[in-house]
Symmetry: C2
Subunit: 332 residues, 2 copies
Amino acid sequence: MKKIMNKVDDIVVESLAGLAAAHPCLVKLHPSVKAVLRADAPKDKVAVISGGGSGHEPLHGGYVGVGMLDAACPGEVFTSPTPDQMYEAAKAVSGDKGALFIVKNYTGDVMNFQMAADLLAAEGIPVAQVVVDDDVAVQDSLYTAGRRGVGGTVLIEKIVGAKAEAGGSLDEVKALCEKVNGQVRSMGMALTSCAVPAAGKPTFDLADDEMEIGIGIHGEPGRERMKLKPAKEIVEMMAKAIVDDLPFQAGDEVLAFVNGMGGTPQMELYLVFNDLANYLKEKGIVIGRSLVGNYITSLEMQGFSITLLKLDDELKALWDAPVETAGLRWGR
Amino acid sequence: MKKIMNKVDDIVVESLAGLAAAHPCLVKLHPSVKAVLRADAPKDKVAVISGGGSGHEPLHGGYVGVGMLDAACPGEVFTSPTPDQMYEAAKAVSGDKGALFIVKNYTGDVMNFQMAADLLAAEGIPVAQVVVDDDVAVQDSLYTAGRRGVGGTVLIEKIVGAKAEAGGSLDEVKALCEKVNGQVRSMGMALTSCAVPAAGKPTFDLADDEMEIGIGIHGEPGRERMKLKPAKEIVEMMAKAIVDDLPFQAGDEVLAFVNGMGGTPQMELYLVFNDLANYLKEKGIVIGRSLVGNYITSLEMQGFSITLLKLDDELKALWDAPVETAGLRWGR
């Protein structure tokens, strides 16, 4: 395991300092807790806040800015942030319209966001939470009761962020978040393991001719370990599981998102997108929007995930709305 | 070596098909040669065209669109495209104002772009070329007479593309390209090798405690192989070589670009940016703009490069101008 770092204990703090140094117009760091705050943090809107373990960058700190998140709370690598981080971050960016917590479904995240929400509610700050659970691979997992929150989170943060930016109320923003979570589905796979810096070794082993289908974003087990197959077969296996789950149907328009796990060349992600586009065309499912790249990662893991979101006019308009963050930007 | 692919011979073609399928509003494929063309290709401007071996994505196909490139010619992985690709791509996107070729300094690329330029000139199409050679690591290399063209290419394509979009003449666009190349400097490093799909094995070996400083974007040798050091020391070694070369001086304003080689977690790239920001601050060099991410890669190689561009008001305005490509977008 090789890492570009100084002291292993400082990797998250130094990386956050770099994010703030690179994007001073977009973000700033909270003065006392580990949290990335929107630089201009307008208080006349619902504050949209997320967080979770580090190691998934650009998620979540890279999505703080105009039209997406107002704050992100990073834990140590693959470790939940603490309730006080969430509480202080929410206090720093929330106004009268309150705060929405977007929570990936991992036990620690859910518990800690709940505690932070209770603290804020006790002070009279309106707060709502939505748990994202878009991963069709497994029902329960190493860190989860129920399905895991994965790639859909990126799309939810963008769309819900746009709704909040446009002046939506807390009830409206929460309802939209639940709606998007209800019609987004994902699944991942890996060719290689990630390696947590503090552990100093790969999280798991895969033979040179093997892959893991349905893997989680922490390298936790998925559905099945099998021999490496051609991309087309891998994509069909994953896309079928996703399409059958919602189910997506002929005539549906979708946002198709091929996400890299951190160590996969972009050339391969676009090759995957090609196979996915062919599969969806066969099924009569129309790609209305697309996203391809490293957006929710697992350190240096090689692999990818596929996410499909069923679109309608509301979601398309919110997806297309201007966004200006380190990890996603267009439109102003 | 594990790759997500179907047949190894089809990897470039399938990846290009995926790029076009994902971004139909931005790009289309040339009907007869391997080339990525701007979808709306306006003919009333200088056409800005680049190309080179595949495996460096998003460079160059990911930079075709509004405000950057009008066409990109991808070769096979780490292999120069052919003169007929460049000729046909230029014919497809050029109007009366002619075409500028932005050529990374590799022997095959330089030779083939020259042949294409000769063919176009013989037909009366105005054409100019600029060779990018920003890599301070080595004077000559495995594939190069003189310095290699690396990270600076991304910045040049953005800035020169903005000038062409604004209506600059071929002479003006060429002069700007030479100006930017004159004040941009880069250097790279690697922790691991890349693996060319057709070769089926890593290009080189590095021991578990070693790194290669000054490496090229094809995994070709750099300045020195040495024991892995803390990030701060690596950054200082590379930044010093870059700063001393131009030289950049106290009071200079720069665009600071930390580029991932394809397999490096973004967390580490921001950690590198933090060390770079601290180094530049000590030297009195001001970061006016920044870019952090995987923009010119070497397949799945782990490592990073640093690029510094000396800014002035002209370059800042062109950098900030709207751009809409798969790999870089902001501002409309």
